[in-house]
């Protein structure tokens, strides 16, 4: 394995959980699958379509998202939006993320001791 391959594996592992958090935060405004994928990519989350769509369904199954078919436009689309449970979940995850971020910063600067 080359350095780059190992690096991309490490990045993938590091970002895995953050996609869930990003989805929950983004979907405070209702959105549909492909648009969400686009938004995430614009924000620099490299997520595959075949990971994101099943993930949305799983979050819906867990009650963190709710969905609704929008038939107003030319093509019917399934819109997802975060549920109250999902908001609480996202807040807790975000708090955790900031804690981890702070710890890592301290470690990287070496003034932890």
């Amino acid at each position: 394995m080359t350095f780059d391959e190992i690096l991309s594996g490490g990045q993938q592992e590091l970002r895995r959980g953050t996609v869930v958090l990003a989805c929950l935060l983004l979907l405070r405004t209702p959105g549909y699958g492909y648009a969400l994928l686009d938004q995430l990519r614009d924000l620099g989350f490299s997520v595959d379509a075949n990971t994101l769509y099943p993930l949305l369904r799983r979050l819906e199954g867990q009650g963190l998202l709710v969905s609704e078919w929008n038939t107003q436009e030319a093509r019917p689309r399934k819109f997802y939006r975060v549920s109250p449970d999902g908001e609480r979940h996202a807040a807790a995850l975000f708090e955790d993320w900031t804690r981890v971020d702070a710890s890592l910063r301290r470690l990287a600067q070496g003034d932890d001791a």
């Binding site: 549909y32 699958g33 595959d48 379509a49 075949n50 769509y53 078919w69 019917p76």
Partner: protein, 323 residues
Amino acid sequence: MTTLTDRYVWAVLRALPSRQRDELEPEIRALVADAADAHADSATPDAAERTALVELGDPDALAARYTDATRFLIGPRLYPEWERLLKLLIPIVAPIAGIAFAAVGWATGKPVGEAIVSGLSIAFNVVVQMAFWFTLVFAIAERTGASYIPATGRPWTPDELPELPAPDRLSLGEAIASVAFGAFVLAAIVWVQVAKPIVIDGTAFALFDPAASVWLWYLVGLTLAEILFALALYRRGRWTWAYAVANAVLAAALAIPVVWLIREDLLLNPALVDAIDAKTGGGWLEPTMAITAFVFAFIAVIDSVDGFGKAWRTSRQVARPAG
């Protein structure tokens, strides 16, 4: 004309449990269409569709993520068929076996309670046996289905999408069910003859007349032929007139000798017949065997007609170009 999207959607849905299919189909179609739209400015519609499908990736992988399933004994491709068959067959076969065994026990003089208990225990055994053998056959099919394992290191392309099935294309599950049922019949024939499960007053009896062992071998051979027929039929993919004729010949080859053996009193073990006679005072044999003969003949006729009916429907579909 079927589009690549149709083939893609089918390839994903076939690996999902049936309750998820109706729900996911419009969703996946919408996802493909949205992605294709996004590429529509810079490409022909066909190329945009291809790019959209490549983005979604291998349909088996997508389906596996939707089902959240890791491949264990039976993977997502076969699991729905396995579940469907067990749900279909166990509620039919287990009660029939249990009631039949309880009835025979009661007819041979067992107290009612004991007869019911023996029926329940047989029904339970049938459930366990069927679940085990079906699972074993499916697990083997899962591991030998080499075409399913994606070639590693090579990116998936839409060219690998399977064709949509012809409306009457035989499912893999049907073929596996036929094979498993044949294996079950083989095991049952051997079991009632060798293990002598019928016990009357402490004596164990084989079900069939030991003098008719030539015919038992014939039945075993015929069951093997039925298994080979099911495999050949699956390879062919659909019913044709030739297969319908072969099916009718096999059905006749089973029913005619069985009815003849019953008529000539050559099928059942005479010692068993005497023992039951002694218990019940006789009179049970003729009506029972008449019903059995009728059932065999009836099933043979229905099965043959069904084969010709399927061949006829398929021939009509082939005459018209597939939709």
